[in-house]
């Protein structure tokens, strides 16, 4: 795993604000290991009760889709209107469906 010049890894931080809600990416920080990353994340990202659970993931362990593959990956979904409820005509008398 590659380190930065200060010899610490970059960690991506995910916080769950309360049970029932997914963890959400909030930012990143430097730390020598996962345990200290969690401690730092507590200090940096939850000073005002923003969370009840923290995930830390080394930045370089995330594999991301490439921006120039955007077309190829996502365009096929663009012309499939029949995947949306509004594509189907239901009489008003039926009410909400």
């Amino acid at each position: 795993m590659s380190n930065n010049k200060d010899n610490w890894k970059i960690w991506e931080i995910f916080i769950r604000s309360k049970n029932g809600i997914s963890h959400k990416h909030v930012g990143s920080l430097h730390a020598p290991d996962a345990e200290i990353a969690i401690k730092n994340a507590r200090d940096v990202y939850t000073r005002r009760s923003e969370g009840i659970s923290i995930w830390v993931v080394p930045s370089d362990q995330i594999t991301a889709s490439k921006p120039d593959e955007k077309e190829q990956l996502f365009a096929p979904a663009d012309d499939k209107v029949y995947r949306h409820p509004t594509f189907y005509h239901i009489p008003d008398e039926i009410g909400h469906m």
Binding site: N4, K5, G27, V44, R47
Partner: protein
């Protein structure tokens, strides 16, 4: 990439940000956009970090426990702001260590406002009210900046900032309603911080040649003069409300413009402080270096602990 292709990419980029789309780290961006932002974001980060120094000076001498916990929390927030911003710069490929070394060596710039001294408790009030107030005006605008990670850092920062300004104004309010000596102290702080706060927005629009490009790329959303005027219009009534006088004899409400007219800013002072000749430039840089050196054992201890834990985990898993 040929020159023509490059121009085409740049034109597409401009149309893209002009349509209010956000740029994310891995997206193509003009090299100058990247450079401009790394410089701006890191200077902003340095300002948050150096900004802790004039206030830290007063933590142990805060006049009550209530004021002390508030000031501690504020200064701690500023450290966090520095960190959010260094992180945003890192998403553009900068290494935080390089940025910090540029600050420590004096090569990098930070906001000149922090080169002014804080001789009295009222200065802590004036900083929260005016300096954080001016920073907020700028930062609220930057919540809509075109670079995604910078904009998101700003949203977090703005949420935390409003308490900073309120605690500062509360300090000023208390002093202004206190004994004549306390009121005098508040007025004196306002006198010293007013003009430097106005300078925080940077040179006038006609003397700010890089602004046009930043506006075109949607990095900046409002001009220096616009932001300055906004700040003045908001702040003057706040001063009047607590019976303090803004130290500008030319300050006058202009009914026609719907804004306050104000006096000439001493730009020579601004450029002098940037050039390193402010009252506290050397002191701040020195204090920052001492703090960095004094923190070394903590960083080393964290490394040693992480190594020990990793070794222990390895032993446990091989024993199992």
């Amino acid at each position: 990439m040929s020159k023509e292709e490059m121009l085409d990419m740049e034109a597409r980029f401009e149309r893209y940000v002009a349509a209010e789309n956000k740029v994310e780290p891995k997206d193509w961006m003009p090299e100058k956009y990247r450079k401009t932002l790394i410089r701006q974001i890191s200077q902003h980060a340095h300002s948050e970090v150096v900004g802790m120094l004039p206030e830290a000076n007063w933590i142990t001498r805060a006049p009550s426990l209530r004021r002390k916990v508030a000031l501690l929390a504020k200064v701690q927030d500023e450290a966090g702001h520095g960190l959010y911003l260094y992180s945003a710069a890192e998403t553009m490929g900068a290494d935080r260590q390089d940025l910090i070394e540029d600050l420590l060596s004096g090569k990098a710039k930070y906001s000149s406002i922090f080169n002014y001294p804080t001789p009295t408790w009222a200065d802590i009030g004036a900083i929260g009210w005016l300096v954080d107030g001016a920073a907020i005006a700028n930062q609220v605008m930057l919540c809509r900046t075109s670079y995604g990670p910078y904009a998101r850092a700003m949203v977090r920062i703005c949420k935390e900032e409003s308490f900073h300004q309120r605690q500062g104004y509360e300090i000023m309010m208390a002093l202004a309603a206190g004994t004549p000596a306390q009121k005098k102290m508040a007025q004196d702080a306002l006198n010293r911080w007013w003009w430097p706060s106005l300078m925080m927005f940077g040179p006038t629009d006609e003397n700010s040649p890089n602004s046009a490009l930043s506006m075109k790329w949607r990095i900046k959303r409002k001009s220096n003069d616009e932001l300055r005027q906004e700040f003045i219009d908001k702040t003057v009534p706040q001063a009047e409300f607590i019976g303090l006088t803004v130290p500008d004899p030319d300050l006058k409400w202009n009914e026609e413009r719907g804004h306050y007219d104000f006096g000439e800013i001493d730009w020579q002072e601004f450029y002098d402080v940037i050039a390193g000749n402010g009252k506290c430039n050397k002191q701040r840089l020195h204090a920052r270096n001492v703090a960095h050196d004094n923190g070394r054992w903590v960083r080393e201890a964290a490394n040693a602990y992480a190594e020990k834990q990793a070794k222990r985990r390895k032993e446990e898993s091989s024993a199992a």
